[in-house]
C-alpha cells in the first residue's frame, strides 16, 4: 500500500483542481463585474426606465437576482465544453489536424447513453429505482456512452484518417467533414429504423431534477434564491473527475509521456521505440471517451437530443480549444469555462440590455464572433505559445 501511494504523483492530482477552481472563480467574477457595471450604467438610460416600468425593479436588481443561476449554468456548460474541447486539442496536439467528426462522436455517446436509459425505463427498472440505484444506472449509461464513443473514434481514425496521413493538410480535414456528415445521417438512419423518432428525451428518474436551495438573500423588495440543481452538480463533478484523470494520464504516466513525445516530434518519438500509430489511436480513444461522457452529461442537462445535437457544442468546443490555445490542455480547460460563461451571460442579459433587439437567439453565433476575434488578435490563444507553421 505504501509502495502504491509513493508511486502516485499527488502534485498532478492537485494542480488541475487548483487550475479549475482559479479559472471558474476568475471567469465568474470577471463576467459578473462586467454585467453589474453594465447594468448600473444602463440604469441611467431609458433602458433602465423601461425595465422599471415592466417589472418594477431596477436593472441592477434584475441582474443581481439572476446572477447566481447564470453563473452556475455558465459553469455547467463550460465544463461540458471543456470536456469536448480536450478531445479536439489532444488530437490536434498529436496530428495537427482538426478532427471535425468529434462533434458526432459526442452525439453518438449521447445517443447510446440515452437509449440505454430509455430501454431501462421501458423495462420498468427506472421508475422504482432507489436513489443509489438511480446513480448507478446513470454511471452505467455514462460508461456505455464513453465506450461507444471511444470505440467509434478509434474506428474512424483507422478507416478515414490513417490512410490519408502524409497527404496535404486539407485532405484529412475534408475527409473528417465527410465523416461528420455521414455519422449524422447514420444516427438518423439507425434511430429512424429502430425507433421511428429522431428526438430522444432523457428519461426522468432519480432526484436529478431537484434543486438544492442554500438560502435566500434579501435584495430590496425582492429576494435572490441561492440554489443549484442536482443535474448541474453531477455534470460539474463528473467533468472535474474526468479532467483530473486525463491530466494525470497525460502528465504523470508512461503512456502520457509517449503521447507528449509523439505530439512534440513524431519521427523522433518513433526512433525512441514508441509505436506512433498505437499512440495516435490511443489519443483518439481518450478523446472519444471524454466526448462520449460529455454527450451523456449534455443529454442529462438539456434533456432533449437529436442527431444534429453535436454540431453546435462541437463547434463551440473547438472555439474553446482555439480560445485557450489549441494543442494546450490547460488552455482547453480555460477556454471551455470562459466560453461557457461568456455565452451564458450573453444569452441571459443581452436581450434585456438591448431591449429585445438582440437576445438569446444570437447565443449560438456569439461563439463564432469570439473565435474570429481571437484568431485576428491572438491566434495562438490565451495560453498557447506562438509557433511558426511547420513546413
Amino acid at each position: 500500500m505504501k509502495q502504491f501511494l509513493k508511486r502516485i504523483n499527488f502534485y498532478e492530482l492537485v494542480r488541475p483542481v487548483g487550475q479549475m477552481l482559479t479559472f471558474s472563480v476568475g471567469s465568474a467574477v470577471c463576467m459578473s463585474v462586467i454585467a453589474v457595471v453594465l447594468a448600473l450604467i444602463l440604469d441611467q438610460t431609458y433602458i433602465g426606465a423601461d425595465i422599471m416600468e415592466k417589472y418594477r425593479v431596477t436593472l441592477f436588481t434584475y441582474t443581481m437576482i439572476n446572477l447566481p443561476q447564470v453563473v452556475i449554468d455558465g459553469l455547467t456548460i463550460g465544463f461540458v465544453y471543456a470536456a469536448i474541447a480536450l478531445g479536439y486539442t489532444m488530437v490536434y496536439g498529436v496530428l495537427e489536424f482538426i478532427n471535425f467528426a468529434h462533434s458526432e462522436i459526442f452525439a453518438v455517446g449521447a445517443f447510446v447513453g440515452v437509449e440505454f436509459l430509455i430501454a431501462l425505463g421501458s423495462a420498468g427498472v427506472l421508475s422504482g429505482a432507489s436513489l443509489p440505484m438511480a446513480y448507478a444506472y446513470l454511471t452505467l449509461a455514462i460508461f456505455l456512452g464513453m465506450l461507444a464513443a471511444g470505440g467509434l473514434a478509434v474506428t474512424v481514425e483507422r478507416v478515414a484518417y490513417r490512410p490519408l496521413r502524409g497527404a496535404s493538410r486539407l485532405v484529412p480535414l475534408i475527409s473528417a467533414i465527410g465523416v461528420s456528415f455521414l455519422l449524422q445521417d447514420v444516427i438518423r438512419l439507425v434511430e429512424g429504423v429502430t425507433t421511428g423518432q429522431f428526438n430522444r428525451i432523457f428519461p426522468t428518474f432519480g432526484n436529478f431534477d431537484a434543486r438544492i436551495i442554500f438560502g435566500k438573500l434579501a435584495m430590496g423588495a425582492s429576494k435572490i434564491t441561492m440554489g443549484i440543481s442536482v443535474k448541474s452538480i453531477i455534470v460539474i463533478v463528473s467533468a472535474v473527475l474526468m479532467l483530473v484523470a486525463l491530466n494525470y494520464l497525460v502528465n504523470a504516466t508512461r503512456i502520457g509521456k509517449a503521447i507528449r513525445a509523439v505530439a512534440q516530434d513524431r519521427s523522433t518519438a518513433s526512433l525512441m521505440g514508441i509505436n506512433v500509430n498505437r499512440i495516435i489511436s490511443l489519443t483518439f480513444l481518450v478523446g472519444g471517451l471524454l466526448g462520449g461522457a460529455a454527450g451523456v452529461l449534455y443529454a442529462l442537462k438539456f434533456t432533449r437530443i437529436d442527431p444534429f445535437v453535436g454540431f453546435f457544442p462541437g463547434l463551440k468546443a473547438f472555439t474553446a480549444a482555439v480560445l485557450g490555445g489549441i494543442g494546450n490542455m490547460t488552455g482547453a480547460l480555460l477556454g471551455g469555462i470562459v466560453l461557457g460563461m461568456l455565452e451564458t451571460f450573453a444569452g441571459s442579459y443581452m436581450g434585456v440590455f438591448t431591449m429585445g433587439a438582440a437576445g438569446s437567439e444570437y447565443k449560438d453565433i456569439f461563439a463564432f464572433s469570439i473565435l474570429i476575434l481571437v484568431l485576428i488578435f491572438r491566434p495562438q490563444g490565451l495560453m498557447g505559445k506562438h509557433v511558426g507553421q511547420k513546413a
Partner: protein
C-alpha cells in the same frame, strides 16, 4: 485488368470518323428515348450523359461546339418543357454547376477551404429579395402582420442591374471577411468560414426585429422576376409548339429563361476562370496552393492573392443568389444551410478540384443523385410500404417500416460518403485538373 481492357476498347472507338458516329448516336439515342418515354429517369440519364461522350470522344472542336450548343440550347430545353421535372433538374444542375465553379476558384485554384460558401449566395439572394419585393415597405411590421396591398420597391427589370450589384456586394463581403482571416492557416480558415456561414443564416433568421429586413424564418415572398413580353411566349410556341406537343405556359417559359441565364453565367464564369488561371494571378494561386512559404519567397503577395480568389469566388455566388431569388420568387434561410455549402464542396471534390469539366461533372452527378436517385429510392420504398411485401428471412413487413425513413432526406449521407471515398481513393477527382494529371503521370513513370 478489366479497366485497361476498357481503355483499349475506348481508344479503338475514339479514332477518326468512328468517334463522330458514337457521339451523334448517343445524342440521338438519348433524345429518342426521352421523347418517347418522357417519364423514364433512365432515358433522361442517357440524354444527359451524351455531354460526357461529347467531352471524351476525340472530335474537332468545331463539332464539339455545334453539338454542345444544339444539346444545351435546343434539345434539353424542349425535353425540359415536355416534362417540367426535367427542367427543374437541369436548372438545378446549371445553378449548382455555376456555384461549384465559383467555389472551385477558392478551393481548387487557391487551395483555400471555404466551408461557408453559400453565405455569399445568401447575400446575393437576400439583396434582390429585399429590393425586388415589397419588403422595404414591410420594415415596420412584424412578420405576418403586413397589409396585403403594398407596392413593389423597384420594377422587375432592375433584376439585370442587380446581378451586377450582387457581384459587387458579395465580392466586397468576401474581402471584408477575408481580410482578417486569410492570414490564418488553412484549417482555421475552414472553421471561420463555416462560422461565417452560420452567422449569415442566423442573421437571416433573426433580422425580423427590431426592423423587419428578412421576414425571419418565413422568408420573403413574392420576389419579382424580370418581365417577359407576350411576344416571346407566342414566338416560342409558334416555333417549338409542334415538337413540344402542347402550348408552353409563361410560368414554364420563365423556368426555361432562368436555365438559359444560368447557362450564360456558367459560360461567363468559365471564361473568367480560364483567363484568370492562365494569367499571372492564376500562377500565383497555384504557387500559394502548393507551398505558401515558397510562394512568399518568390515575392508573391500572399494575402492579396488569397483575397482575390476569395472575392472572385464570392462574387459569382452573389450573382447566382440574385438569379435564384428571382427564379424561385421565394427565399428563406433554409436554403442557405451548412449542408448546402458541403453539398457544393462535395461537387468540387467529386469532379476534381481545379478542373473545370470535372467540377461541372461533379455538380451534375451530385444533383442527379440528389434529385433522381435518392427520390426515386424514396418513391420505391413508399410503394413497398403500401404493398404487403415482407422481407423473407427476418420476416419484417415493409409496411411496418417507419415513415420517417425517407431516403430523399439523406443527403448528408451522400455528401459524407462522396467526401470520404474521394479523399481516400481518388483525391484528384473524377476528371483531374490538367496540372494534377501531369503530376500523376510523372509519378507513375518514375
Amino acid at each position: 485488368m478489366v479497366s485497361s481492357y476498357f481503355k483499349e476498347l475506348f481508344d479503338r472507338a475514339n479514332q477518326g470518323r468512328l468517334a463522330y458516329f458514337f457521339v451523334i448516336a448517343h445524342i440521338f439515342a438519348g433524345t429518342y428515348l426521352v421523347y418517347t418515354q418522357p417519364r423514364s429517369n433512365l432515358a433522361f440519364l442517357v440524354l444527359i450523359t451524351s455531354f460526357l461522350s461529347l467531352y471524351f470522344f476525340r472530335t474537332s472542336s468545331r463539332f464539339k461546339l455545334v453539338a454542345g450548343v444544339v444539346l444545351a440550347l435546343v434539345i434539353v430545353p424542349i425535353v425540359g418543357v415536355r416534362n417540367i421535372f426535367y427542367l427543374e433538374v437541369i436548372f438545378q444542375i446549371a445553378v449548382f454547376a455555376a456555384l461549384a465553379l465559383g467555389l472551385n476558384i477558392v478551393v481548387g485554384f487557391a487551395g483555400l477551404l471555404d466551408l461557408g460558401y453559400v453565405a455569399f449566395y445568401a447575400v446575393g439572394a437576400y439583396l434582390w429579395a429585399f429590393f425586388g419585393s415589397q419588403q422595404f415597405y414591410v420594415l415596420h411590421f412584424a412578420p405576418g402582420t403586413q397589409p396585403s396591398d403594398l407596392p413593389f420597391l423597384l420594377p422587375g427589370d432592375t433584376f439585370y442591374m442587380f446581378i451586377l450589384v450582387g457581384i459587387i456586394v458579395a465580392g466586397v463581403t468576401g474581402i471584408i471577411l477575408g481580410l482578417p482571416v486569410l492570414r490564418l492557416r488553412g484549417d482555421y480558415l475552414a472553421i471561420v468560414t463555416l462560422g461565417f456561414g452560420e452567422v449569415i443564416r442566423v442573421l437571416a433568421n433573426n433580422l425580423d426585429k427590431p426592423l423587419n429586413f428578412t421576414n425571419g424564418p418565413q422568408g420573403i415572398t413574392p420576389i419579382q422576376r424580370p418581365t417577359m413580353p407576350d411576344m416571346v411566349v407566342d414566338w416560342f410556341n409558334g416555333i417549338f409548339g409542334g415538337v413540344v406537343g402542347h402550348d408552353v405556359s409563361p410560368a414554364n417559359l420563365y423556368n426555361l429563361m432562368f436555365y438559359l441565364y444560368a447557362l450564360i453565367m456558367i459560360i461567363v464564369i468559365i471564361f473568367v476562370t480560364r483567363r484568370l488561371n492562365d494569367s499571372k494571378i492564376g500562377r500565383a494561386w497555384t504557387a500559394v496552393r502548393e507551398d505558401e512559404t515558397a510562394a512568399i519567397a518568390q515575392g508573391i503577395p500572399l494575402v492579396r492573392m488569397k483575397l482575390t480568389a476569395f472575392a472572385v469566388g464570392a462574387s459569382f455566388a452573389g450573382a447566382m443568389g440574385v438569379l435564384l431569388a428571382a427564379s424561385r420568387t421565394f427565399i428563406s434561410p433554409e436554403s442557405f444551410s451548412f449542408m448546402q455549402s458541403i453539398g457544393v464542396l462535395s461537387m468540387v471534390i467529386l469532379g476534381g478540384a481545379g478542373s473545370i469539366p470535372g467540377v461541372i461533372l461533379g455538380a451534375a452527378t451530385v444533383t442527379i443523385l440528389n434529385l433522381q436517385v435518392l427520390q426515386g429510392f424514396s418513391l420505391y420504398l413508399n410503394e413497398l410500404r403500401q404493398s404487403d411485401a415482407v422481407i423473407p428471412i427476418i420476416n419484417f413487413a415493409w409496411k411496418d417500416l417507419s415513415t420517417q425513413l425517407d431516403p430523399a432526406k439523406y443527403q448528408r449521407l451522400l455528401f459524407g460518403l462522396i467526401l470520404i471515398l474521394m479523399m481516400i481513393f481518388r483525391p484528384a477527382g473524377l476528371i483531374p485538373a490538367s496540372r494534377r494529371k501531369r503530376e500523376l503521370d510523372r509519378d507513375e513513370t518514375k
